[in-house]
């Protein structure tokens, strides 16, 4: 009788321990899931951090400088007396260098993408694609060196009276750096177009290039658009190439032969100096940064929307 009871007690004990064990397992799983969720949410925390700091300091900036001044004054001379806080020269510098860069990267990148997607043999594609991606792996300071000491003298030989640092030189080198951004995504978009569509064109007697331009390219516009926007965004945010080779003079100009200063180059220049924390000069970099952030945010969202559309299409 006692033996049976003990046996029963042991069994109950064992069962309870197992349940506790299972409970602990559940608890552990819960803790892990919460931890992982926190990690995922950290990305939102980072964005909030960026937005918070940029807005906080910019609010302080705009207490002293009016919005009209900021957007419409044609001079950016925060450290002069009297100081001017018009962002237009910085914006024109950014947009002009971006424009030059895109003039290089979009045609070269698109033609490369069409070639790799529609013409090249598979082994060529396998070989060339990683090599092209190396272009974007080179540190931008090295591109800056290249721009200032190799490309600039070359350009000065071609174009008379060209200053050593100008938007043209910096823009061209930036364009070369951006080619893989454009070509890689465009090529992916074109390869995603089903073969059946191409066969329809070939069966009518079309050659490869006609098929590529009139059938494949239009079918892939969303993805190609996303690629272009990616290149654009990257160009707007580029710092070191323009800081080294673009000329550090804030000048409102649409002539690429002029030196200029981009929003990013200004921030770098100021950071190297010794502006006291809280001074208006210090706050200018955050106002500039906010402008930059908003620009790239808009373009990134457009690019994201386009990418979603191309993914859904096929």
């Amino acid at each position: 009788m006692n033996a049976n009871l003990n046996e029963l007690r042991a069994k109950i004990s064992e069962h309870r321990a197992k349940k506790r064990g299972r409970n602990w397992l559940h608890v552990r799983e819960g803790i892990i899931e919460t931890g992982l969720l926190a990690a995922a949410l950290s990305s939102i925390a980072i964005t909030l951090g960026i937005v918070f700091i940029l807005c906080w300091e910019s609010v302080g900036f705009f207490k002293e400088v009016s919005l009209t001044q900021f957007f419409f004054d044609t001079q950016w001379t925060p450290l002069f007396d009297p100081p001017h806080y018009g962002i237009l020269p910085l914006l024109s510098g950014t947009l002009m260098t971006t424009f030059v860069a895109l003039c290089v990267a979009l045609p070269l990148g698109t033609i490369t993408a069409i070639y790799l997607s529609e013409f090249a043999a598979p082994w060529v594609r396998e070989f060339v694609k990683p090599l092209l991606e190396l272009l974007s792996a080179v540190p931008t300071v090295v591109y800056g060196y290249f721009a200032l000491y190799l490309v600039a003298p070359l350009m000065q030989n071609i174009i008379p009276d060209l200053p050593a640092s100008c938007m043209l030189t910096a823009g061209i080198v930036m364009g070369i750096m951006i080619i893989p951004y454009v070509s890689s995504l465009s090529e992916d978009a074109m390869r995603a177009v089903p073969m059946l569509l191409r066969e329809g064109a070939y069966a009518l007697g079309a050659n490869r290039i006609r098929t590529a331009l009139t059938v494949v390219f239009p079918a892939a516009t969303s993805g190609i658009g996303a690629a272009y926007i990616l290149g654009l965004s990257r160009a707007i945010g580029e710092t070191m190439i323009v800081a080294i080779a673009g000329g550090m003079q804030p000048k409102l100009s649409i002539d690429p032969r002029d030196p200029a200063m981009t929003v990013t180059a200004y921030i770098v220049q100021v950071s190297q100096g010794d502006l006291p924390h809280g001074s208006i000069g210090y706050k200018t970099i955050f106002a500039a940064g906010l402008t930059l952030f908003v620009m790239t945010l808009v373009f990134n969202l457009i690019g994201h929307y386009l990418k979603k559309r191309y993914r859904e299409a096929y």
Binding site: L204, G205, T214
Partner: protein, 258 residues
């Protein structure tokens, strides 16, 4: 009215197709008669689509493909498989409609006009006339005549396939090749497209691959039954369905395998 003695449009002679070491088509002889519909039937993998794609040299896009034999077009006596004949030339002479509709990302008008523009036609009036003629031929004109500028993707599946037929018709090919054109369609669309195909034979020579033997029985004049790369039997459709001479044909038509 069916002519008593149909003339020969294409003769497939001793055709062999090799994918690397694999012989996909093993010595096939088939006559294709003008203004008639010739159906290629057989179980999956028998080579009917492979055979069809020889007519417009679509295999040339793959590596490792080798042809032996001839496919001779009449009355020009041009051997479509000859190395001296450019594949592009062959495709300019033929038209193909695929298993799934594949309209280009363009307007309805531009889809049909694609082949015409390719051949150098640019006069708006001429193009409009040819496009209209092609769309009437594929029984799509009434559906789309008011919206020729709309994107082709707005059309339903059956309409898109008829658009693809119009696109192939517009260039007035010597032979129209149909690769299981209704396999992705519902029964109503299938029946409408079969009507279109049947009407077309008055002006066109048609070769159709189909996995649906009832379809072959319904619309074709001649049927070729293939199995594992070989031609088992080629007869007038009525004869092959009512009095098949080969055992294999009998089994297939009886539904023993598919």
């Amino acid at each position: 009215m069916v002519d008593a003695t149909p003339s020969l449009k294409v003769q497939v002679r001793q055709l062999r197709v090799f994918y690397g070491e694999n012989e996909a088509i093993k010595g096939v002889d088939i006559p294709v008669y003008a203004n008639r519909i010739t159906a290629l039937i057989g179980p999956s993998g028998c080579g009917k689509t492979t055979l069809l794609r020889c007519f417009n040299r679509m295999h040339d896009f793959q590596k490792n493909v080798r042809y032996e034999g001839d496919i001779v077009l009449y009355p020009s006596e041009k051997n479509l498989l000859s190395r001296d004949v450019d594949p592009m030339e062959v495709r300019l002479l033929t038209g193909m409609v695929f298993q799934k509709p594949n309209p280009f990302p363009k307007s309805i008008f531009e889809n049909v006009a694609f082949g015409l523009r390719l051949r150098g036609m640019s006069n708006r009036q001429e193009l409009s006339e040819r496009v209209e003629k092609a769309l009437i031929g594929s029984a799509l004109w009434d559906d789309v005549k008011d919206r020729l500028g709309r994107p082709a993707t707005e059309l339903s599946g059956g309409q898109q396939q008829r658009l693809c037929i119009a696109r192939a018709l517009a260039t007035e090919p010597e032979v129209l090749l149909l690769d299981e054109p209704t396999s992705a369609m519902d029964p109503i669309s299938t029946s409408r497209i079969e009507d279109v195909i049947f009407e077309l034979k008055d002006r066109m020579t048609i070769v159709i691959v189909t996995h649906n033997m009832q379809q072959a029985a319904r619309i074709s004049d001649y049927t070729a039954f293939m199995y594992r790369g070989q031609l088992i039997e080629f007869r007038a459709t009525e004869e092959i369905f009512q009095r098949p001479s080969e055992e294999l044909t009998k089994s297939y038509l009886g539904g023993s395998f598919g």
